[in-house]
């Protein structure tokens, strides 16, 4: 679901980036008001979880792959604004260091995965929890929230892909950017996501939520017992299991490289040409493309990339916590 560069026109990227900017600004403001500086590192752990979950690629029907995002999970545990910041941080690290998702399209990716996903998921979760009562409602709400949140983000991504050939064409009528119209992109994105990726997202969300609730309730409810060690242990287990994400062969739908797209077969026929906007488009030389730099076994590269992403996420939010503490009134630091 990470939209690479040159799949969306620069105009679309600018529009979605402009839409994502105020969302991020409001989230920073809300987090500053609502989240205590002590629980700021918790957000870093949320970002680390999200980063790791996005590395678990699952094979989807149709030869492509997909992954969970974990936005709803963080939204349930720390609030949707916190989730927005945490997932944005994870997406930025992926785009800048690992070339997963484009630089120009970072705004679009943040809009889909860091804004629409956690807010939709959280809305569904709280509505169901309210309707069904606390205990049972929480579990059902987490499942449905995660499912619908990811589905909403996938639908939005498909629409962004699908409107490209309608609006941006060259003189001969060939599409400049993403070549697939809405009639192709929506079923191609939605069917596998609804069948597999959303199920994985729900499973992850329920599993991790109930684990944290059981061993370290203080991480969710204020004043309860907090055991960060258990959470770090869970993070370590996820890091070690990350190479499982490599079992999924193939590229995610809509994330092919410029050399791949013309020969990729979809519904029986290959595209046969490379859109011009992709040939001469913007390309950012990320230091470690695809988490698995050449020259070392993919699994090892994957684990090291996971360690790196987790460390950077935690450092980022710990620094942010220190920064907010220094600025907040009434502190003597």
């Amino acid at each position: 679901m990470h939209i690479p560069d040159n799949y969306l026109s620069p105009a679309t990227c600018a529009l979605l980036g402009a839409a994502a900017a105020p969302v991020l600004a409001i989230s920073v403001k809300k987090v500053k008001e609502e989240v205590s500086t002590e629980s700021m590192p918790m957000l870093g752990i949320g970002a680390a979880f999200s980063f790791l979950m996005m590395m678990f690629n699952v094979p989807l029907p149709g030869g492509t792959t997909g992954h969970a995002v974990g936005g709803t999970l963080i939204a349930i545990m720390a609030g949707p604004y916190s989730a927005c910041l945490a997932v944005s941080a994870a997406l930025a690290i992926q785009a800048l260091l690992f070339g997963d998702g484009g630089i120009l399209s970072l705004g679009a990716n943040i809009f889909n995965m860091a804004f629409v996903l956690p807010f939709a998921g959280y809305f569904v979760f709280s509505a169901i929890k309210k309707a069904l009562g606390s205990k049972k409602g929480e579990a059902i709400g987490a499942v449905c929230g995660a499912y619908i949140g990811l589905a909403a983000a996938a639908l939005l991504t498909a629409i962004e892909f699908g409107i490209q050939p309608l609006i941006f064409k060259d003189a001969s009528g060939l599409p400049l950017y993403c070549p697939y119209p809405l009639s192709v992109s929506i079923p191609a994105m939605m069917a596998p996501h609804l069948l597999a990726a959303c199920v994985v997202e729900s499973a992850f969300t329920v599993f991790i939520y109930s684990f944290v609730k059981k061993v370290s309730p203080g991480s969710i409810y204020a004043g309860e017992k907090k055991r960060s060690k258990a959470i770090y242990a869970l993070l370590s287990v996820l890091i070690i299991l990350v190479p499982l994400g490599l079992l999924a062969e193939g590229t995610a739908w809509g994330e092919w490289g410029a050399d791949e797209i013309s020969v990729t077969a979809y519904s029986g026929s290959v595209l046969g040409f490379t859109p011009k906007g992709m040939l001469n488009g913007f390309s950012f030389p990320s230091p470690l493309p695809d988490y698995a730099p050449s020259g070392m076994p993919d699994a090892l590269g994957y684990i090291i990339s996971a360690v790196f992403g987790v460390a950077v996420s935690i450092i980022l939010f710990r620094l942010l916590g220190g920064f907010l503490k220094a600025k907040s009134p009434g502190s003597h630091a």
Binding site: G301, F308, A311, I315, L319
Partner: protein, 251 residues
């Protein structure tokens, strides 16, 4: 006042240095989960080896792996150490990026990734060692590297006397600042301070020698260090050994 600027600067830099040494020697160190009672010998040895391997490596992947490991440690340092380590390393990172900018502009992107990353990793490794280990224990650990006792003795006393003489010069600078009106001061007065400190240090050395003789010092200085192995040590060694193995694997 401008005339005081020279003395003020001297006071500030002395004060900064002294407070750093004090913080280093405070009982709060070792602190944080990263330094769970790991024998300083292992820390010194492996940090040194890691820095050498990073410097030797021509493989971006190894540097990246070492960087990931170091960042993971940094992520769990106490806030104050986290900031210090990170900002020191980032400063070196950006300075070397700046130095390499001309090479990058003429097409050598490899160095632009490689050298700043190495800078970051080595500075981070040294900083992690210094903020998780007392200087006293680092000096003590040198014994296990077959460094002569005399040398350890010199380092040990130097460390203590830097603090004592630093305090002395700080007091003199304060005194000068309080008693001074109008002209004078500046470089000349500072050399006066330096001269007094030198005389005083000779005096203190003599006093210490006498004090040691009184307590039965026979001219031979023994330092003891024990090589123990706890669970934390073992975990630390395994983590480092796997990084070293990676170095040879990726060559």
């Amino acid at each position: 006042m401008i005339k005081d600027a020279f003395i003020d600067k001297g006071i500030l830099s002395l004060f900064g240095m002294l407070s750093k040494i004090r913080a280093q020697d405070s009982p709060a160190i070792p602190r944080g989960p990263a330094s769970l009672n790991i024998n300083p010998f292992y820390k010194v040895a492996f940090t040194l080896a890691l820095i050498i391997l990073i410097a030797l490596s021509r493989n971006l992947l190894f540097v990246f792996s070492a960087l990931s490991y170091l960042l993971l440690i940094i992520a769990f340092l106490p806030s104050i150490d986290l900031k210090r380590t990170l900002f020191a390393s980032l400063a070196m990172f950006f300075i070397s990026c700046l130095l390499l900018a001309p090479a990058a502009l003429s097409g050598n992107l490899y160095s632009l990734f490689m050298i700043p990353s190495k800078m970051f990793a080595t500075v981070a490794a040294a900083n992690i060692l210094s903020c998780t280990t007392k200087w006293q224990s680092i000096i003590g650990a040198l014994k296990l590297f077959f460094i002569p006792d005399v040398f350890i003795f010199i380092l040990d006393t130097a460390m203590k006397y830097i603090v004592m003489l630093g305090e002395l010069s700080l007091e003199m600078l304060y005194a000068m600042k309080l008693r001074r009106f109008g002209g004078g001061g500046g470089l000349a007065s500072l050399s006066g301070v330096a001269g007094t400190v030198f005389l005083k240090s000779a005096e203190m050395a003599e006093e210490m020698n006498s004090a040691m003789l009184c307590r039965g010092f026979r001219g031979v200085y023994h330092s003891r260090a024990k090589l123990t192995m706890t669970a934390a040590d073992a975990a630390y060694i395994i983590a480092n050994a796997s990084i070293f193995a990676l170095f040879f694997y990726l060559r």
